[in-house]
């Protein structure tokens, strides 16, 4: 199998999705000739033309709102919001409309669209380019939220998202765009939305995460291994709907759960996962669930970001605490 990095896998998924369904459109800022600022849409306009791969005006309400309209009108728009920090300027369409249209119209109008958005930090980007806004979207009914951590999952989940009859917000960990490499099957395939991935089998503690932080957890698991601790690593991949069965099964086995993520900790999606575990597996817990997130302050400019976003050491420290509980 060919080896691709994550952005190449995204790019291949988009090529194949556009090939297999003429209704699929790609729109956003700089997605055309420039191929996207991360090259995720590279070659699409050359191949599918400027009618199907569209550089829009610089307007996020317009990008998301018109995508909703296109989806209602029978198309399969895949829009790109260039950075996580710019999602809020189109937030109204996400919170008030994207996930509601099907229910409001009793199923007559649906919104089969994908909103792609880079996610997370640690690439020394300017301010507002390293955010992790998943909690805002996950709290909003009617939307599915995906955040892969491997090239193979990125491709399979993106193809599944484009084929999905409902809106999917697809977060792409920008740190992994080039850093994450792996074998990716050439032909189109789906990775099921709503299923977590057991990234590492273990028995003493379950490290739960998504996106770039899944790799941080794997690194921490190796460190724990040296300390004689067997850590299981769960890569959620889909944030809503959550794969609760996989989470509970693992925690019932290990008795200890740690959730690592990049967003400010309070009110994060990790809080939901932590709450669900304690609410539903209380008697299996040998120690309190532990969350390791970014500090509850604005992300500093990049020179300090490595002290803001949890690294393997911080995950390790927290794991040690609950192991010693």
């Amino acid at each position: 199998m060919p080896e691709l990095n994550l952005v190449q896998a995204v790019n291949q998924a988009l090529h194949q999705a556009m090939e297999e369904d003429r209704r699929v459109l790609v729109l956003g800022e700089d997605v055309g000739l420039n191929g996207g600022v991360f090259r995720a849409t590279e070659g699409l306009q050359q191949k599918f033309g400027a009618e199907r791969v569209v550089d829009t005006p610089l307007a996020e309400i317009g990008i998301i709102g018109s995508s909703i309209g296109l989806a209602i009108n029978g198309f399969r728009p895949v829009c790109e919001i260039q950075f996580d920090g710019f999602l809020p300027s189109g937030m109204d369409q996400i919170l008030c409309h994207m996930g509601r249209m099907r229910n409001r119209t009793r199923g007559r109008h649906t919104v089969p669209m994908v909103l792609r958005c880079p996610h997370g930090g640690l690439i020394h980007a300017p301010e507002h380019h390293s955010e992790s806004p998943e909690a805002y979207v996950c709290h909003t009914p009617g939307i599915k939220v995906v955040c892969p951590s491997t090239p193979a999952d990125a491709k399979g989940l993106l193809i599944a998202a484009v084929r999905d009859p409902d809106p999917v917000v697809f977060f792409e960990p920008k740190l992994l765009y080039r850093a994450a490499k792996g074998e990716v099957p050439q032909e189109p395939y789906e990775t099921p939305i709503g299923k977590a991935r057991q990234a590492r089998v273990g028995s003493d503690v379950t490290l739960i995460s998504w996106g770039a932080m899944a790799h941080t957890c794997l690194k921490a698991a190796d460190m724990l291994d040296k300390e004689g601790v067997s850590a299981e690593v769960l890569d959620l991949r889909t944030l809503t709907p959550l794969d609760l069965d996989a989470i509970l099964a693992s925690v019932q086995k290990t008795g200890r759960a740690l959730i690592a993520h990049e967003a400010p900790n309070m009110g994060s999606w990790a809080a939901e996962v932590s709450a669900l575990i304690s609410e539903r597996a209380l008697l299996s817990l040998k120690a309190p669930v532990r969350r390791v997130g970014s500090w509850d302050i604005r992300m500093p400019l990049f020179r300090l970001e490595k002290h803001y976003i949890p690294d393997a050491e911080r995950v390790l420290r927290a794991a040690r605490e609950i192991l010693a509980f």
Binding site: L25, L70, R106, R108
Partner: protein
């Protein structure tokens, strides 16, 4: 020349049928008598519905209701310029627009009674549910128009908005998209001079709202919004421009909200009656009636029959509305996703258990007094 004119613009205002019912024939409007009469009938019928809805609300038989009194022309005429497969996206003050498209009034009532089953448009139409957050439908309409352009069959998308809503950034981004991509969209600005208690002047220092169009390279025109002929001319031309690939238009219909913002509002708190009275004299229905009579297209008998038939038809709709069985609370769990995820299956089951313990209290809800509750 050092100081040159980079671009110039002029925003026209069209008036054809005067408040006194005098038509200016120097401006050709291709509106055959039968069509004109059907517009008149719909305007009369929807006014009757409007009056009746307010009564129903006062009687606690309907929820908060947004009146269209005085805006019958700007409501009925634009939507009537569309084909069923064109897209219509009205506002919450849109009963007239939906009615012009053939929506049954029982559903409008059901909706304003807080029942989701009221979202029911004729199957052959492309009607979209309006958005309560004002302006948030405008970029969606741009997307609908975009889709029509891609389909290439001459379809058009029309969205309504109010004078206040033209201040929202959504308007800017929608028009920017439509003009930059030459999308077949028509935006009807119903300038009824008020955004709840905020007068038109406070929304924009621009002399007209139509002139905003120029900034986007779109076409803009202002019309007397109580003048069926002026509206019909401007909107049908805008629709044709859109169909033929010449891009979007903004048609500002200058009209007036004769009633409160909604049944929950008290306009007496913020505006004087003199202004209201002045606008009563410009009533869109009255002036058209005078014209039709002068042209021997209408008379007292016809009027009496119309009033009688309309009242009877409305009664039937009200009965049909009130005859709806109570909604099943479990229905709220349907149509959230194509396939319900585990947590909704779980929650639905929980609600079911709860409902089993409850006893039939599912009549029309007792509605709260509206006073200042919400706009």
């Amino acid at each position: 020349m050092p100081i040159t004119s980079a671009d110039r613009s002029r925003t026209e205002r069209i008036e054809i049928l005067s408040p006194e019912g005098v038509r200016d024939f120097s401006i050709p409007v291709d509106l055959p008598a039968d069509q004109l009469l059907s517009l008149y009938r719909k305007m009369v019928e929807i006014r009757l519905f409007d009056e009746r809805s307010v009564k129903l609300q006062r009687q606690g038989r309907l929820g908060t209701y947004p009146m269209i009194l005085g805006q019958e022309a700007s409501q009925i005429v634009p939507a009537s310029c569309l084909k069923p497969k064109d897209w219509l996206v009205p506002t919450y003050r849109g009963q007239g627009a939906y009615y012009a498209r053939g929506m049954r009034l029982r559903y409008s009532l059901l909706y304003w009674a807080g029942d989701d089953r009221g979202v029911k448009f004729p199957d052959e139409n492309n009607d979209l549910i309006f958005a309560i957050p004002v302006g948030s439908h405008l970029t969606q309409a741009a997307g609908l128009a975009w889709g029509e352009k891609l389909k290439g069959q001459g379809g058009v998308a029309m969205a309504y908005l109010g004078d206040g809503t033209s201040s929202k950034g959504d308007f800017h981004e929608a028009l920017t998209f439509c003009a930059a991509m030459k999308l077949p969209a028509v935006y009807i600005v119903e300038n009824n001079h008020w955004a709840i208690s905020v007068p038109r002047e406070k929304q924009s220092a621009g002399k007209t709202l139509a002139q905003k169009a120029w900034g986007y390279g779109a076409f803009g025109v202002q019309v007397d919004g109580n003048d069926v002929f002026a509206i019909y001319k401007a909107v049908s031309e805008a629709v044709t421009r859109a169909r033929e690939g010449h891009g979007p238009s903004v048609v500002e219909c200058e009209t007036y909200r004769l009633s409160h913002h909604t049944t929950a509002d008290d306009a007496g708190r913020y505006r004087g009656s003199a202004e209201v009275e002045a606008w009563r004299g410009k009533d869109p229905i009255a002036r058209l009636k005078i014209y039709l009579e002068r042209e021997n297209l209408w008379d007292a008998d016809k009027e009496a029959r119309l009033q009688k038939d309309a009242a009877a038809a409305l009664e039937m709709e009200i009965q049909a509305y009130e005859a709806f069985p109570p909604p099943n609370p479990l229905d709220m769990f349907s149509e959230n996703y194509a396939a319900a995820p585990w947590h909704l299956i779980e929650e639905r089951a929980e609600l079911q258990k709860i409902l089993e313990t409850k006893t039939g209290e599912e009549n029309l809800p007792v509605l709260p007094p509206a006073e200042g509750r919400f706009p």
